[in-house]
């Protein structure tokens, strides 16, 4: 192969995409109209392109195999990649609104699949606005885990409605989560941490995990260590604030 034909966006030593070619703005306006394709309904969401090893063709989709974990605002995909080997039989998807970042995660997963045959087949990424289109991707009660790691803090009160954890959006997350499903949230912004905890605590369909439950859950440990944002906070010696809640049947409705 000719030297100059090697793709410079892919690192020669690791075979992974190089981040410097995928720099994107840190923020994206979730209120603006979206111009990417969105499935009309969950049954029309083609999984065969995302998980070719699990679904060899579009016609032969095994309906019992569904996406169970969703990383909302997956960023550069660190958590997904850690979870992929921890739960190799569970299908998971990252949802990211920034096109370039989505492209990066896509390349990263493809590269990992190449260098580790048989692995990382259960993770994928989609570019979407999850605040608008969650019900287009998942059926009622389909998900077991949802992740909201280091979301955009939107400090101004005027912009609080852009926060990905909000009282009204929790209704939709409660809809797609099965009973017993878990929401994981973490942030390095104390004010946002308080907000997310308050939203979840005040919602009739969520209850906090006990300290014992948090200690035995292997996923909780990944919230800080697996994501690029979490590593950055740790490097700078920052503090993080997490809220982990379980979807329950509301007592009165």
């Amino acid at each position: 192969m000719l030297e100059n034909e090697a793709n410079p966006t892919i690192s020669k030593s690791t075979g992974l995409p190089r981040k410097r070619f995928y720099r994107a703005r840190a923020h994206s306006n979730p209120l603006s109209d979206s111009h990417f394709p969105v499935p009309v309904s969950p049954s029309r969401f083609d999984l065969s392109g995302h998980y070719p090893q699990f679904f060899p063709s579009y016609d032969q989709v095994d309906c019992s195999k569904k996406i169970r974990f969703a990383d909302i605002g997956c960023g550069f995909g660190g958590l997904l990649i850690s979870l992929a080997t921890l739960f190799p039989e569970t299908l998971m998807i990252g949802m990211e609104i920034r096109d370039k970042v989505t492209e990066y995660v896509k390349e990263r997963i493809l590269a990992l699949r190449m260098t580790n045959p048989g692995q990382y087949q259960n993770i994928s990424v989609v570019r979407t606005n999850s605040m608008k289109y969650i019900p287009n991707y998942f059926e009622k009660g389909q998900l077991l885990k949802m992740f909201f790691l280091f979301p955009d803090p939107h400090f101004k009160e005027k912009n609080h409605r852009r926060r990905v954890i909000s009282p009204h959006l929790l209704d939709e997350y409660a809809y797609v989560l099965g009973i017993g499903g878990i929401i994981y949230t973490i942030t390095d912004v104390e004010e946002l941490g308080d907000w997310m905890k308050a939203c979840l605590a005040n919602h009739p369909m969520f209850e906090a995990l006990t300290r014992e439950e948090l200690e035995v859950d292997p996923v909780v440990k990944l919230l800080n260590s697996a994501t690029e944002e979490g590593q950055k906070v740790a490097r700078n010696g920052g503090q993080t604030f997490q809220a982990v809640y379980r979807r329950i049947v509301p007592s009165v409705c």
Binding site: D33, D99, K132, P135, K140, H168, Y175, H203, C253
Partner: protein, 441 residues
């Protein structure tokens, strides 16, 4: 900039709306900020009394409706006011201020709650407990009930059994939410989403019968279809492509006809759905077979004048379909607001064959209330018909500006990404691979 946009918006035409009392005691028409009511029971014009202490409507009314038992009436719109009226003496019980413009309203079947949706996708609920009809309610505040994320809510309906509230939006979605015992704490339990429309959902209505008291939902959309749903699971039962039929009727051959469904109205005690379509002069009657769960076109009623494209529909238990066409904020006319009311009879029957044969567009003097009613609801008895095509056109433009997203071709989208680092390099590699130039070493 902001105020300029505001002015632009204000100049958009607003459609004339109609609502009929469930027992046909009265009929209401709104045009611009004007609310006109005619009392059919007393055969007289209603003078609205506003002693609620709140302001009166100053801007376009976007939603009007009677409650299921007819005792309440709600009007709301661009002036962010929600006015709740008692229909006994037609006085305003209370005026609730919304933070945003109001796009849809609904009244719970027990008339204890009024819900309204704003243009930011939030549905609010007003508690009417303690209302005895004689005393105005002061300072009623609305509490947030549910929200569609920053999407314009186009329609709001309670199910016939009152168990759920259904909301439709610009993002093709229909959400079915359990209406809780204490709605002031919010409605958190989503029963289902009804997803299949491929454009904004414009209108909703329920069909029910003795055998199916829970009812079936019908929805109309900018995708030129009317769809039939089972709401507890959100399953699509049937799709009726009204656009094809409307397109055939209108076809002058050349231009493509957009057949946005603008209004739906179910006829009480029947399984008929009247449909207003943006390009259709007249209305389409659909017939629903509730046991077979199908929806089919029964008849197109188009013999009502060259220029009558209804902007809103209403019906009562009397088996009449009331229609209005018109718009406010029209440019270039002395009278900037125009409306025309027409009525179709012969719908109250179980037998489909007789529906197809018996439907009649009533002459003006045969309409309940007669000329006196028309004078009140239209403002004039005679209106030049041609103008209504312009009104319909203005309403159409306003609707697409509001609800249809800009479409970009994939080439255009790719073109905009041409300078991106990750793309640039990939493109140059593939180009290099194509012309393998040795000088590049």
């Amino acid at each position: 900039m902001g105020t300029h946009m505001e002015e632009e918006k204000n100049r958009e035409a607003a459609p004339a709306l109609i609502s009929v009392h469930p027992s046909q005691n009265s009929v209401a028409v709104s045009i611009g900020s004007d609310l006109r009511v005619f009392d059919l029971h007393g055969d007289c014009v209603v003078n609205l009394v506003d002693d609620s202490g709140g302001p009166s409507h100053k801007d376009c009314i976007r939603a009007i409706r009677y409650g299921a038992n007819g005792s309440l009436f709600v009007s709301a719109g661009d002036d962010k006011l929600v006015k709740i009226w008692s229909t006994h003496y037609w006085h305003c019980i209370t005026t609730v201020c919304s933070e945003k413009r109001v796009s849809a309203v609904a009244i719970s079947n027990d008339s204890l709650y009024v819900c309204f949706a704003d243009k930011f996708g939030v549905v609010w609920v007003v508690d009417l407990h303690g209302l005895d009809g004689s005393q105005p309610l002061i300072n009623r505040k609305a509490a947030p009930l549910l929200a569609h994320y920053c999407s314009i809510i186009t329609s709001l309906e309670f199910s016939p059994d009152g168990r759920v509230i259904v909301s439709a939006d610009r993002d093709f979605k229909i959400r079915v939410t359990v209406f809780p015992k204490n709605p002031l704490d919010g409605a958190h339990e989503i029963q289902s989403f009804c997803l299949a429309h491929t454009e904004f959902v414009s209108c909703l209505a329920f069909l029910c019968s003795l055998d199916h008291p829970q009812g079936f939902l019908v929805s109309g959309s900018g995708d030129s279809t009317v769809r039939l749903w089972e709401i507890s699971a959100g399953s699509l039962l049937d799709t009726c492509d009204v656009g094809t039929k409307a397109g055939l009727l209108q076809s002058d051959g050349s231009e493509e006809v957009v057949s946005t469904v603008t209004a739906l109205c179910t006829i009480a005690d029947t399984t008929l759905v009247a449909v207003a379509i943006q390009s259709l002069r007249g209305i389409m009657l659909l017939s629903c077979d509730l046991s077979a769960q199908t929806l089919s076109i029964a008849k197109v009623v188009s013999n009502m004048g060259e220029s009558f494209i209804p902007t809103s529909l209403g019906s009562s238990s009397a088996g009449l379909l009331w229609m209005v066409t018109g718009a406010s904020n029209l440019h270039g006319f002395d009278n900037a607001s125009l409306s025309r009311v027409k009525v179709i009879s012969g719908l109250k029957t179980i037998n489909l064959v007789s529906v197809v044969n018996d439907t009649t567009v009533l002459d003006d003097n045969k309409i309940p209330g007669g000329v006196k009613l028309l004078e009140k609801l239209q403002g004039h008895v005679c209106v030049e018909e041609k103008v209504f095509l312009l009104a319909a056109e203005a309403v159409k433009t306003a609707m697409s500006n509001l609800l249809i997203k800009k479409q970009y071709s994939s080439e255009k989208r790719e073109f905009r990404k041409r300078t991106r680092n990750d793309r640039k390099i990939k493109v140059s590699i593939s180009a290099a691979a194509k012309n393998r130039c040795p000088n590049n070493f």
